[in-house]
Amino acid sequence: MKLGTRMVASVAHMGPAIITSIILIMIWQAGTSLFNIPNWLLPAPSRIADALWQWRLTLVNDIGVTLLETIIGFIFAVLGAIPIAAALVSSSLVWRSFYPILAAFQSIPKNAIAPILILWFGTGELSKVVIAFLISFFPIVINAVTGMQATDSDAMAMFKSIRANRWQILWHLRLPNAIPYIFAAAKVSITLALVGAVIGEFVGADSGLGYVILLSSSQLKTDLAFASIVLLALIGVALFSVVGLVEKLFTPWAPSLEHMLGVPA
């Protein structure tokens, strides 16, 4: 299938969503002028676009800060979660020692400990990286564990019949089996990591989109706050898509998008 055909197919697939968005934005624009809604309460889409353009130079810096915090926190979460999941499923002693503690940690609302993390790691990027890490770590561990345990019983019997040892079973069966599960969690986690970074910036920071939202809404520069929110939404979608692309690279055996859309190859 040619790239051009594929792009046409994916645009055609997203067409209805694009049209709906345009209609909603038009209603918003008309509504704000029709009802004379003040800019500080709800800025019109055109005002938000103005703000984006006007503040573009500083916003680029804030995007960079928030993006960096999110991605670093997320990458550490993935790198930490997989070996920990492997250790959990490979030894029942490790499982019984650590899994309950992990589950308990998972149930702590991460925004509740954000002020303490700022206290420990300062108001710079590090504290946000830590929050992004903590918030995105647990879903990946839980899903990786599930994927490593959800192995086919016949495949497991086959590995045992060829006398594979624990490490060979981990490497050749459990880990590859967990890859789709890990990616499913990663797609959720990367968005959560962004939430974590913004929470951290709310609590204490001097840059980043969360900081911009907090500062501009306190100064009634609501258009700038909305501009930052739009940017966060775009970042969230972009990060989600990147994880989806990496997933396709890592799972060439999975049915392709064209296949699922029913577009002939």
Binding site: D154, A157, K160, S161, R163, Q168, H172, I179, W253
Partner: protein
Amino acid sequence: MSSKIAQIWPEVAPVESFIDFVNVGKTFRTRTGDIPAICDISLSIPKNQFVAIVGPSGCGKSTLLKMLAGLLTVTSGRIDLHTGGRDPLPNVGMVFQRPALLPWRDVLSNILLPTQIAKLERPVAVKRAMALLKLVGLAEFARKYPNELSGGMQMRVALCRALICEPTLLLMDEPFGALDAMTREELSIELLKIWQHQPKTVLFVTHSISEAILLADRVVVMSARPGRVIQTVDIDISRPRDFSDVHSAAFKDYSSLIRELIGTRH
């Protein structure tokens, strides 16, 4: 070629026993109490014999195979393996009812898996795998993923995977049970060809009486749970066999004999 195999066959005719089941019993412990799955099975299997095990479902046929493969322990009695070498465990190839291929590996890598576990040299292993794929008519599918193959093709790949380490013992647990009748017949004949090409001891669990007679030198008939051996029936139909044998008088006699044996309550 087939007449050559027929000549070779009497020469490798089995004499000494390779596997001895001695009063083997298996009891599963569950919360609601002990469930005896297999009771007092004694059976001698000579080297290179093709043995089919038939019986009603739940009679412990699969349990028998799993104990032999070392996947389950024996509760009472013992299983003696006369492997000849120092290794008390035989080189086992196993095929299950489902192909149980790894979806993330292509056909060739799936077949190579046992050689990776056994740390065989890769070039040798690849050569062997390609020869096996050619034998089952899938040479051009080496780079396909399992989900791109039909059920019958997947089962052929599973068979290749079981054969790649050149096992002395092939354990097959209702391998063709999930396939349609036509594919099933094709694969039975292919299995016979492979077995006559490279003789090995085969234990083949099946629900199908005609499949058992067509394939095996000896059919072990088991009773309902707890599984016991009702009788073993030697199948005296000349080899190589094919599907025309199914219509012979001898085949029909064996079939009604075994059907009768299974119907007997013990």
